[in-house]
């Protein structure tokens, strides 16, 4: 999945498509225990005869084969310009540590396309690519995709594809539907464009739009669809972990409610989430600097570590029989 970056990439001309758009939805698997490897393989067997890829290091992960979804609809342009797109979207499901389930959908936007729709064979020969029906400014599509929530419906909606995949998997009979706690699904809408010579260098702009929606604009030297999708999945996973942990702590009453109640309420987080934090561990080397940048701002690991420390401090105080609030002021 994380293909090592090619040794020649610094000297060869920028390769790959100019523009990728995608969405990742992340949820807690609706199952009482971490799904064992064999069952995970079975769950993610979305295409008959195609292998589910699994890896054990640095954490257990299973990745479904790619699915293709036919697309023939208006593209989401911020300007409202009517540009049709025809082709296919690539989607896949990822299960990490048998616990966190993600649906990840992406589309490569071809630079040009004809105004006439071609036979499907043409599009199937270019899996995961959508051809626009006319001229299209990349920035218009980037802005349109990232604000898809506020646009009128009917345009290409990667979220709908992701949502269906998640719902399908969460409803499977192998899952007992007794998740250890309730949680919200999060959404990461992302775009990746190639850095223009003379323009801004490579970088990432991550924005928290609301309680569950995040957007990410990536500008890269080289846009490798597989590596970029894996990067976004990793980011979405850690954003979900942080969002969920912070919310559990907020709602537990830690630091405000007396007695052991808050910590008891945090028990599932301690049992099931804390060990999942491994940011960037699966990310392509070429994209590692982007993760490093996001660690500086907004600083995922800093906030995670502070929250975990807070829980641990309370646990320690509770263990020696000293309620954490008993010495707070008078």
């Amino acid at each position: 999945m994380t293909r090592p970056s090619e040794p020649f990439s610094t000297v060869s001309p920028p390769a790959g498509p100019d523009l990728l758009i995608g969405e990742v939805r992340t949820a807690l698997l609706q199952h009482s225990v971490a799904l064992p490897r064999a069952a995970a393989g079975q769950l993610l067997q979305l295409r008959h005869g195609e292998r589910v890829r699994t890896s054990e290091r640095p954490s257990g992960q299973a990745v479904s084969p790619d699915l293709l979804t036919g697309v023939d609809c208006p593209l989401p342009t911020a300007s409202g310009r009517a540009v049709r797109g025809v082709g296919t979207a690539t989607s896949r499901a990822v299960l990490t540590e048998g616990r966190l389930l993600q649906a990840s959908v992406r589309v490569r936007i071809a630079a040009t396309g004809g105004s006439l729709r071609l036979p499907w064979g043409h599009y199937l020969a270019r899996p995961g690519t959508v051809e626009p029906s006319g001229r299209l400014a990349g920035a218009d599509l980037v802005d349109g995709h990232l604000s898809a929530d506020r646009l009128p419906g009917g345009a290409l909606d990667l979220g709908a594809i992701a949502e269906r995949l998640l719902t399908d998997l969460q409803g499977r009979r192998v899952l007992d539907r007794r998740a250890p706690f309730r949680s919200r699904r999060t959404r990461l809408l992302w775009t990746a464009t190639r850095a223009e010579p003379g323009g801004d260098g490579p970088g990432a702009l991550f924005t928290i739009e609301d309680g569950t929606l995040r957007t990410l604009r990536l500008t890269l030297e080289r846009v490798d669809p597989v590596a970029v999708a894996a990067f976004c999945e990793d980011l979405a996973l850690h954003d979900w972990l942080l969002t969920t942990l912070v919310q559990l702590v907020e709602r537990s009453g830690l630091g405000s409610a007396p007695g052991p109640e808050p910590l008891l309420r945090l028990r599932p987080a301690v049992d099931h989430l804390l060990h999942l934090w491994m940011p960037g561990a699966r990310v392509d080397r070429a994209l590692a600097p982007i993760w490093a940048g996001l660690e500086t701002r907004p600083g995922f690991t800093r906030q995670w570590a502070a929250t975990v420390q807070r829980i641990r401090d309370h646990l320690a105080l509770q263990a020696i029989g000293l309620p954490a609030h008993s010495y707070q002021g008078d």
């Binding site: 609706q30 269906r164 969460q170």
Partner: protein, 306 residues
């Protein structure tokens, strides 16, 4: 947990009471969502005071979702979008309070297996996130009631707890009609059994709620002449007997909401501010909603009375 709110007749107080129950449940910290399945007369936007829902839900409401036109129905965060000043901002400890409105104009359905499938998917999806999913159904033997009875009979939903609240007013006609809706011809029991529900389990998941009940001891009746007070309490006894005869007795009644002057005039949520500061609503009303909210998940109240 899924909670279905139903009544035989319209105008019983089902929507207003269930919205208040959802609100009272969310206040101390539960995540609650409220689904407006009253396809005939969706009123939730008015009760929660979210006019934006009325304007914005021409396309992406529950109707469109169930017809397969959108992948997800629109969600409205009540704390953020209500125009009622008394409900904002979100109280510190409160959980999510989310409304899934119906489409304006509603529209027709075909009760096909696709619709049932989508309905079941939605319930499972909401179970992932919300402690309480409260579904306000249409009055009577409706399409909506049939739909949820079919969806909850699917094997995927067998591990999800589903409970029914049957709302009725405290009159002869309403008591008889509510009993008919549950136990009678084409009622919940009969329809449920024909869709594959286990009879005893379904019966034990039904409780009644008496809405807008004039209580002789209420401050509203402090001015009654002795003859009037006597008459009221004789009626009350008659109705109590009638209810027991129709299997709507105290064991199967989850709560009673008194007649409230505010709700008499206006469909709304009763806040603590309404009760304590401005004192326009009665404390007993707010207390009844809070008790019902707690009773939803109080297993002692849902033990088989047999």
């Amino acid at each position: 947990m899924l909670i279905f709110a139903i009544s035989d007749k319209g105008g019983t107080g089902r929507s207003v009471t269930s919205a208040n129950i959802a609100y009272r449940r969310a206040l101390p910290g539960a995540d609650v969502c409220y689904l407006d399945f009253d396809f005939g007369s969706p009123t939730s936007a008015a009760v929660f005071d979210v006019p934006s829902a009325l304007r914005g839900t021409e396309q992406a409401g529950l109707h469109s979702y169930l017809r397969g036109e959108v992948a997800e129905p629109q969600r409205i965060d009540i704390w953020a979008e209500t125009e009622s000043a008394g409900l904002r901002p979100r109280p510190a400890q409160a959980g999510q309070l989310v409304l899934l409105p119906g489409d304006r104009g509603g529209g027709e359905f075909v009760l096909g297996s696709d619709t049932v499938r989508r309905c079941a998917d939605l319930f499972l999806r909401l179970e992932e996130e919300f402690e309480i999913t409260l579904v306000d159904l249409s009055a009577g033997r409706s399409y909506a009631a049939q739909l949820v009875l079919e969806a909850t009979a699917l094997p995927e939903l067998s591990s999800v707890t589903a409970r029914w609240l049957v709302f009725h007013r405290w009159t002869r006609q309403h008591i008889i009609a509510a009993a008919g809706l549950v136990y009678g011809d084409r009622g919940i029991m009969a329809t449920g059994a024909s869709r594959g529900h286990e009879r005893d389990r379904l019966r034990d998941s039904v409780r009644f709620v008496r809405a807008a009940v004039p209580s002789p001891s209420s401050p509203m009746f402090a001015e009654l002449r002795p003859a009037q007070a006597l008459w009221l309490s004789i009626c009350d006894e008659d109705l109590t007997r009638l209810a027991s005869e129709h299997k709507l007795g105290p064991m199967l009644t989850l709560g009673t909401v008194p007649l409230d002057p505010v709700l008499q005039w206006r469909e709304q949520l009763i806040t603590d501010e309404d009760v304590l500061s401005s004192q326009v609503a009665n404390l007993e009303t707010a207390q009844a909603f809070a008790d019902l909210a707690a009773a939803l998940t109080d297993d002692r109240r849902w033990q088989s009375p047999l």
